[in-house]
């Protein structure tokens, strides 16, 4: 890992997070805090059948957790739920364009964890263990 972790795109998403805020007509939501740093991310989703109609997030965190959550909302808007359920660590590294390394992976994955928690609780299905860790 090098200082390249903080690419322009990451800093841009940190400074100007996309889809930031609350979604009044959301029908799925979740909020999680990171154990290591206490950062919190909240996601609100409007689900229509198998599709993510709209998604917004808010929270407090480091550049990596905020940027990955922001990028994730851009990616998931309009996508089928089944596609989001398949996302894992590799996809997040792909989105960020860099591997933040083991010490910061939890920050990078916080947004995805929250997004999946919201989806699974909406579906009334228990989130698979291995997915929690992906």
């Amino acid at each position: 890992m090098s200082v390249d972790v903080y690419k322009e795109t990451i800093l841009d998403h940190y400074r100007h997070p996309r889809n930031y805020g609350g979604l009044p007509d959301a029908n799925a939501r979740a909020r999680e805090a990171s154990v290591i740093c206490g950062d919190t991310i909240e996601m609100q989703l409007k689900l229509d059948g198998n599709k993510i109609e709209d998604v917004k997030f808010r929270g407090q965190g480091c550049a990596i957790s905020i940027a990955s959550a922001s990028m994730l909302t851009e990616l998931s808007k309009g996508k089928p739920i089944s596609e989001i359920r398949k996302l894992g660590k590799k996809d997040i590294i792909g989105l960020l364009g860099t591997d933040p390394g083991p010490a910061r992976m939890e920050c990078a994955l916080l947004g995805l964890k929250v997004l999946k928690t919201a989806i699974y609780s909406h579906l009334g299905v228990k989130m698979p263990e291995e997915l929690e860790e992906t």
């Binding site: 890992m1 090098s2 200082v3 972790v5 903080y6 800093l11 290591i36 740093c37 206490g38 950062d39 407090q60 965190g61 480091c62 550049a63 990596i64 933040p100 390394g101 010490a103 910061r104 920050c107």
Partner: protein, 409 residues
């Protein structure tokens, strides 16, 4: 320079390490100190020359190990100003030492409605055990407030001491703000109303002369690994008459005089509190660590840290967008400095500095109530020890300046 830092640095093998091609700049000694070869060798000698269990063996190796073990206790006792080595209980760490006070002394002596006085700048290890006991016993926890400059509010202390707490338990030096608390003055006041005084000295004993008689405390918890010794060894000082009347914390071997099917008779302090085979290598490593620090002289250690902390505070103040927490008065602070740089999250800053080989700590430092008081989610913290140099402060400052540019602070 009061210490010969070049000579000291040569004693620490890890300081030769390169991190990503850059020399390691280790500024995280408040989390754990690095270890000199004298300590590493002492442990190696124990395992290669006289490894045995302590106390009950009659063979030669056990005798040698027991002697080294008990000599370490005596050495540490003198190091913190008590002549009676039986006032030193070995534990796993300062956290366990504080838990011993809570679950052995306080559990037997506090009843529903009693009050415990803590401070807003405590480490979780001096908050959470009390909360556990509070749930069990219905005792009430009060917290001395801190001022905006990171010092304890003595006015708040005076108000809360009127509530007649049974025990005052406070940190000597804050692991976040570096604040040195006026323990002696507060202990005298607490004793006047009949309270017991426990001190978390994890951040003071490694860095400055500390004398339990001077502090006038009844209990003091210390961590070995923050003072050059290995991890897994902590020390509790307890006034002998208190230890003598306390029930054991854990049961097992070592802590008994005789055991029958339905009852047992406890051993004397300190062994009453040391159930099971202890961390013998840790205690032997501690002995070498105390020798190392005693040779340097704790006054010199403190002077060196004052010098480097003063320099660092001056340099950090000039970094654009940097906010320092805690007092600027060098006489009232130790060698840990907390700060934030603009709106850069502490974790991001630690990651950026790591790319330059600089090790700092970021987060809530196990002091979330203090973070709430400072109204920040996290801070970055640098902390210095006997091996740090001004040059390392300069490297830190340059790295902070470039981080500021990267994030456009």
């Amino acid at each position: 320079m009061v210490l010969n830092v070049n000579k000291i640095r040569a004693d620490f093998p890890i300081l030769k390490r390169k991190i990503r091609g850059k020399p390691l700049v280790y500024l995280d000694s408040a989390a754990t100190s690095q270890k000199p070869k004298q300590v590493i060798r002492a442990i190696e000698r124990y395992y290669s020359e006289y490894c045995a269990n302590v106390h009950r063996g009659v063979h030669r190796l056990s005798e040698e190990a027991t002697t080294a073990f008990e000599q370490s206790r005596e050495k540490f006792a003198r190091f913190i100003g008590t002549k009676n080595a039986r006032e030193i209980v070995f534990a796993r760490n300062a956290t366990e030492a504080l838990n011993l006070v809570v679950f052995s002394w306080a559990r037997a002596n506090l009843k529903s409605g009693d009050r415990v006085l803590l401070t807003e700048m405590e480490h979780h290890s001096n908050i959470v055990p009390w909360q556990i006991l509070a749930k069990e016993r219905g005792i009430k926890l009060d917290y001395v407030r801190i001022n905006d400059d990171g010092l304890l509010s003595l006015q708040s202390f005076e108000e809360l001491i009127k509530e007649k707490p049974k025990i005052l338990s406070l940190t000597h030096v804050s692991n976040v703000l570096g604040t040195i608390n006026p323990v002696r003055q507060m202990a005298q006041r607490a004793h006047n109303i009949g309270a017991i005084v426990a001190v978390d000295a994890a951040q003071s004993v490694p860095h400055m002369p500390v004398d339990v008689a001077d502090l006038e405390c009844d209990f003091m918890a210390v961590s070995g690994h923050k003072m050059l010794a290995p991890t897994g060894i902590g020390m509790l000082y307890g006034r002998y008459d208190l230890l003598d009347h306390m029930e054991p914390f854990m049961g097992g071997g070592e802590m008994i005089k005789e055991v029958h099917l339905q009852e047992a008779r406890w051993n004397d302090p300190p062994w009453k509190f040391e159930a099971g085979t202890p961390n013998i290598e840790g205690v032997i490593g501690l002995s070498a660590a105390v020798d190392y620090l005693s040779d340097l002289g704790m006054r010199n250690v403190r002077e060196h840290e004052k010098e480097i902390t003063r320099y660092a505070l001056e340099q950090l103040e000039d970094v654009k967008g940097l906010v320092l927490y805690g007092t600027k008065d060098i006489e009232q602070r130790g060698a840990a400095i907390s700060f934030n740089l603009g709106d850069i999250h502490a974790h991001d800053l630690a990651t950026i500095l790591d790319t330059q080989g600089i090790a700092i700590r970021s987060g809530h430092h196990c002091a979330q109530p203090l973070m709430e008081r400072l109204k920040v989610p996290a801070t970055s913290r640098v902390s210095f020890y006997i091996y740090n140099t001004r040059r390392e402060v300069d490297i830190l400052v340059r790295a902070l300046e470039s981080a500021g540019k990267l994030f456009k602070v």
